[in-house]
Amino acid sequence: MKRFIPFIVFAVLATFFYVGLSRNPREVPSPFIGKPAPAFAQPQLFEPAKTFSPKDMQGQVWLFNVWASWCVSCRDEHPYLVELAKAKRLPIVGLNYKDKPEEAKAWLAQLGNPYSLAVVDPEGRVGIDYGVYGVPETYLIDRAGVIRYKQTGPVTPQVWQEKFEPLLKELGV
């Protein structure tokens, strides 16, 4: 029995390391899952005279995508968002985070516009209210306006299949 002790200690340590090191420390668990999307009223990117509020989307399942023209991973993510928008399954609202409107518009003109509507957040205040810490971030919001999932980092086909699809099925979209 006694000679197994080092092996047992090793096994316990190895298990802890295996689990601990395979986690992504960049992924901060969001306190927003299952909570109503924070309210705001921000000017729209293309029509600054009009504002947008999350409650305007009540009754719809929608994606809220935080992006900026200065954000490199957003460029990675963008083609897939355009593809999703083409499928017309659910509306995507963009939050242009700490960006210049001209640059954001030029970016969308160049790479395609997946957003049914884009709002601006020049000072990053809406971002803070949504707990944004690394753009791009994408929220899945249900018909009642409750955040069901938050993706930090690009939405890739894999992420979409693994994280979004099961929830969309559940929501009947």
């Binding site: 420390p25 901060v28 668990p29 306190p31 803070i128 707990g131 810490y133």
Partner: protein, 155 residues
């Protein structure tokens, strides 16, 4: 001494913010600034996770410092400011996590390890005490003495 040190930190922070291209609107209120810094020391920057909110140059850290300053100006207590941040970013922003079921192991772990160590220590000592001193016969002792004496003579 502490005063001088904090003013150095304060200046360093100001220059850092200037570097980040942020306006420095509250330099005229050193009380708030000091309170903000003290609080931000215990908060984690979400972008550079090994830096405190006070020390980070990340854009988001500057924004969050601005937010903390504004809330303090509005008369919010430190506790309210911390609640504001944990509501948005979770307990992750706290360098000192709260004591609750998920963190029981974290907080009580060291005591648990100490207790396990104590138990092992206790049993080891008890076993050692029970270990009888080996008994040898008088004849064997004499033989050993003889052999040792011979060894010494050789040298």
């Amino acid at each position: 001494m502490t005063m001088r040190f904090s003013s150095i930190v304060f200046c360093a922070l100001l220059s850092c913010q200037a570097f980040a291209g942020e306006a420095v609107p509250n330099a005229e209120d050193p009380v708030i600034e000091q309170r903000m810094n003290k609080l931000a020391e215990d908060l984690r920057c979400l972008v550079c996770q090994n830096e405190s909110l006070a020390g980070s140059r990340a854009d988001l850290a500057a924004d969050l410092r601005r937010e903390i300053r504004e809330q303090m100006h509005a008369g919010k207590s430190d506790k309210e400011v911390v609640a504001y941040l944990t509501n948005r970013y979770g307990d992750f922003v706290l360098y000192k996590p709260p004591f609750k079921p998920v963190t029981f192991l974290l907080w009580l772990g060291p005591a648990l390890f100490l207790a396990v160590g104590g138990v092992i220590w206790f049993f080891t000592l008890r076993r050692r005490r029970n270990l009888a001193t080996p008994q040898i016969s008088e004849a064997a002792r004499q033989q050993a003495a003889k052999l040792l004496a011979e060894e010494e003579d050789k040298q």
